[in-house]
Subunit: 263 residues, 4 copies
């Protein structure tokens, strides 16, 4: 579908601060950026990164004082298919090498600690697609979506105990359980149509049947309305703003709406 | 039943080291020490602690070089009744004040993190006895007894994720879930008849129906053959040996056998 | 000195909630409660605990709806002496048995992890008093008082890394380092004259020279104006309000002022 | 210099296990593999990965039963220069994009928690080279090399508290402190001449003055005798053996010796 996405960030930097901003949709095979505008008062010295494999983009800058960053785009995110239950998983030897890091534990997704649980609960379900769907069902049944119980330091281990969290926590737990089943899984940031309240969304992707499949463990936004921004091992890799020193976030406004002329 | 219990500890202390040794059965209402012998080469300067409320005993000393500590006793542990499923729990106002610390989280039993899980899983089961029995069943079903996966620093949170551990870990998880249900629970060290291999055992007690009830979450030793040594908030309080500085443990031998003349 | 202390707590309880309230000064040898008033709308069913060894008091109740709890007292806190640098430490055998739990690690004070650091930094300083003063100096030099960087789950380990925190964190770090030096240390809650902004204060006590000595690692309130409420292993034991289930804290107002007629 | 390096790994796999083996020196600009031999009984189905940017190599396989893996090579590691104290650090905008992930915290290197400490201790030292050398001096002065105090789960946070560890722990702490200073740092596995006892070595690299510089925070092996194998965010990325399920490591023998004909 075709979507209008928009983000407006207002930050205050006490001194000259180096930043990485990751709010532009990836220019990847599964979505097309039809038009876009990135604006920031001080546009001198911007550096733009583009990852040829993933299509991800990032802006680097050095900012000071109060700064307003606005990004607007029209994106056609193509046809987002739902993960089929019979999607086959791969042995390691059959995976593309760029998938391998997403088999390993990471800071917020310590999958090595969940081997026994994942084996007991999900290992006998046949195909990889069935396993991932069972993981998503398990999370839906056992974890409550509650704001305020988690922080930027909450790991999947803690969410598994607490049984509550927000999209970031659901995503970390889903990734962790999939990796514990030897299924490559990575975190994805996205614009999300019909997410309420509107915000950047954290979801994840699993690699099955020679493809990365987007899934939303919170079930709060339809897969067909997701626009991918960045992907990485966990939330630390896909932050929309990373800064060299502490600063003040004054406003974050995000929207994703169906474009009028969409079919 | 009547039991012969015995412990032999061999430690090497590089320099003069202050120690607390907790291997003597409690002189409590529910068990009688018929005869006993505590021996250590250097018996000068021993200090003996006795807690009037719990009947617990402890020996303090300052030791150096290699030391062998032997304790032997004949104990009648009375009639250890199993927790009845209809045992009623108390509101806080009806608890004896000495029970209150055992409602709080502690280092290895962070019950505050398990409130949501415990409520979802066990809260609707009626009486306190039914809840505790459900906790014990849950642990039996979901956690494997495996040596070597945990350490002296393993918390109930980690065991809940790992789904494996030894008696100390089972006990911490059981205590944690009971406290999360507002049922007072405390760790107990014990000599255990028919525990295989023989060792000090870690179990726990819950306070219901005006009584502390001994339960064994590992189901490895029959309740009727348990001889209580010490109780406390968690394993840190009931260590058989606490030392002021690092030392080398060369041998720990423990036995608990039915006395010949028992009926 | 003679002080007027006052606390007003407003809480909202969604359903009948069991609570323990610890806001009354201890009736201990070192301070005298000259007059006091404890009020709560629903005073039926209050249970009062009194610990004969420490003189600590606590109120238990079952509360529902919005509740206002007010406590006011006039207290003479006697002569609070500062810890002398030559105060001698005790070998374990010479400690009263009630001091022993305060040698052990606890949840927020994992002193076992700090043995090496404490030995390297403080062990060669001679008397216990000199060691504790060096610990207080170290904290003053290396840790910043900053609100908002810590939570109710922050341990001394984290504060040692973060190098920032509030009174609770300073106290946990001080206790931890003292216990790592084999000096008994316990957490204390207090009313504090000249603490700005006014609030309950968290400080600690060390046992040296046959006495517990109050010290304030934040250096924010003079020792002569402290009124002791509760003591325990760490902050979990001395919370001014402990509840059986989550509730909403709407207001906490605390004051401690010199009584007019004080000499 | 020219070195003969050799590794022999003996593993037992209970069932068919997927593995990634990372023991071959990188074919990177700073070192040349003159000759090599990789042997494993079952050589069918090996997959070889080669990273064009870093020159790192890895072997994937599916193994069962007891397996012996032997790798031998002659490597010329060129001229390993020591980090100059005046090496300049870069602002983010001037870094190659492949350096950016090594600015971020990772599981074993939670640099976000060390911002305050690193700023206080090292920030005023001028050039990046001087800062990194000060970090290395600090570690040398404050942390003891002690086997057995850490595990595969030990983070830099824990090592900072414990003040003891092995090469992996020293490396994690060094990386963490550098990243907290906004200097890119990554973990490196290596063969190490004159390391005693011989083993795989964990060291790290910092990016300054447009180059990655190898440093050894343990000071146990001379930089001129290091042969780089893999690099990554922390130890999880550079394990010499990663397996899909638990297995038994029966032997690891490693050697690195000066080749006879070296100049």
């Amino acid at each position: 579908m075709k979507l209008n996405v928009r983000a407006e960030l207002v930050y205050a930097f006490q001194s000259a601060t180096q930043v990485m901003i990751s709010i532009e949709p990836a220019r990847s095979l599964d979505q097309t950026v039809l038009s876009e505008r990135f604006s920031i008062a001080d546009t001198q010295g911007l550096v733009r990164d583009f990852d040829e494999i993933t299509g991800q983009r990032q802006v680097r800058a050095c900012l000071e004082g109060e700064q307003t960053i606005v990004y607007e785009a029209v994106v056609d995110n193509g046809l987002r298919a739902s993960l089929p239950s019979d999607a086959q998983e791969h042995v390691w030897n059959d995976l593309p090498s760029e998938c391998l890091p997403f088999l390993l534990p990471s800071r917020f997704c310590p999958s090595d600690k969940f081997m026994r649980f994942a084996q007991r609960e999900f290992a006998d379900l046949g195909s990889g697609g069935a396993k991932v769907n069972a993981v998503l069902d398990w999370i839906h049944t056992h974890v409550d979506y509650v704001a305020g119980v988690s922080t930027a330091e909450t790991t999947a281990e803690r969410t598994f105990v607490d049984r509550a969290g927000v999209c970031r926590d659901f995503t970390h737990l889903g990734i962790t359980l999939c990796r514990a089943l030897n299924i490559p899984a990575r975190a994805v940031s996205a614009y999300a149509w019909r997410l309420n309240p509107p915000d950047f969304h954290a979801i994840f992707e699993v690699y099955l049947n020679n493809t990365w499949w987007l899934v939303d463990p919170t079930r709060l936004a339809p897969v067909e309305g997701l626009v991918r921004i960045a992907s990485g091992r966990d939330a630390a890799d896909i932050a929309f703003m990373t800064t060299s020193t502490a600063c003040e976030c004054r406003q974050v406004s995000v929207s994703a709406e169906a474009a009028e002329d969409q079919s």
